[in-house]
Amino acid sequence: MQGGLLLMAAISMGYGVSRGEAAIVLRKAVRVCMECIGLG
């Protein structure tokens, strides 16, 4: 079962990256998130 879940995780990450999710994370993470620090 663990092998299947790891395969699913790898496919999920690959699909997420292919639709631009890593770029969204990068855009969010390189700026100060005003809401996250209680100033938004």
Binding site: A9, E21, K28, C33, M34, C36
Partner: protein, 280 residues
């Protein structure tokens, strides 16, 4: 070397690997390189000036709250992979906020056990604040906000809010009710951690909830030999998370700290990589 000392060294090392850019605390600037698209396994605010990587809970909300996307396959896949391999070992060894909580618990205040039903609050927070509100509570453009980070996460206030307010005076103009609320949450969590071991992990952490759900099937696991166990109860007494390792070696609250393994006089418990049944 004693297990507890070895674990503290690994936790300290993990803290500095997660937050290597300590000089940024003085300037209040953030690291803006490509590494920030990768998540760390533990809870660590990406607005912390010292952070090199992204917080998985913040990243999950960032994608979910983007207009047109309702789920993050990238972050969910990452959390599933980490959880299936390590389970809540991440909490016990790699999470910077976990280390902070353990240090707070050394403050000599009366110690209390949490009421057991409160352990389920973190699952509600995961579903409501991390998964649903960023998706459903949107503005006119369809974009939501990071509800957990905004209203609950004390790590963001501690690692990013307070250092940035200290280093960059322009942020002080934005101080208001929200920051007062976040500061109150941080103070309550700090007091809670002084009185109850890893108060935030047990009660509020959505990352602990995710890894806890995967604890029973994780490849790195606590294994019990029923033949060797004499049911002396020393493992349960030694567990700082209030788990009974004999009754439930795959308990969602077990952070794989190894205190029970060290306390067992018959070597009936072990921590290892295995796909076998957790009780033999």
């Amino acid at each position: 070397m004693r297990q507890s000392i070895r674990r503290k060294l690994i936790q300290t090392l993990a803290f500095f690997i997660t937050n290597p850019r300590l000089g940024n605390f003085l300037s209040g600037r953030l690291y803006k390189g490509e590494w920030k698209s990768l998540c760390v396994p533990g809870l660590n605010c990406y607005s912390c000036p010292a952070a090199t990587f992204a917080c998985p809970i913040g990243a999950l909300q960032a994608v979910i709250s983007s207009a047109g996307l309702w789920f993050s396959y990238y972050v969910a896949g990452f959390l599933l992979a980490v959880g299936v391999v390590w389970g809540r070992l991440v909490c016990g060894f790699l999470c910077p906020f976990g280390l902070f909580q353990e240090l707070l618990h050394k403050v000599p205040l009366p110690k209390r056990k949490l009421w057991a039903p409160l352990l389920y609050v973190k699952y509600v927070i995961l579903i409501v604040f991390v998964l649903l509100l960023p998706l459903l509570w949107t503005d006119f453009s369809g974009a939501g906000g990071p509800a957990f980070c905004e209203y609950i996460c004390p790590a963001g206030t501690l690692e990013a809010g307070l250092p940035l307010l200290a280093a960059r005076p322009e942020f002080r103009q934005a101080l208001g009710g929200l920051f007062a609320w976040k500061l109150l949450v941080l103070v309550l969590v700090i007091i809670g951690c002084m009185m109850s071991y890893r108060f935030f992990c047990k009660l509020l952490c959505p990352l602990g909830a995710i890894y806890g759900l995967l604890n029973r099937i994780s490849l790195y696991r606590l294994q019990l030999s029923r033949e060797a166990c004499v049911a002396c109860g020393k493992c349960q007494s030694a567990c700082p998370m209030g788990v009974n390792p004999v009754g439930n070696p795959g308990a969602a609250e077990c952070i794989r700290c190894g205190e029970c393994v060290a306390a067992c006089p018959r070597q009936a418990l072990s921590l290892r990589f295995s796909a076998d049944d957790i009780c033999k």
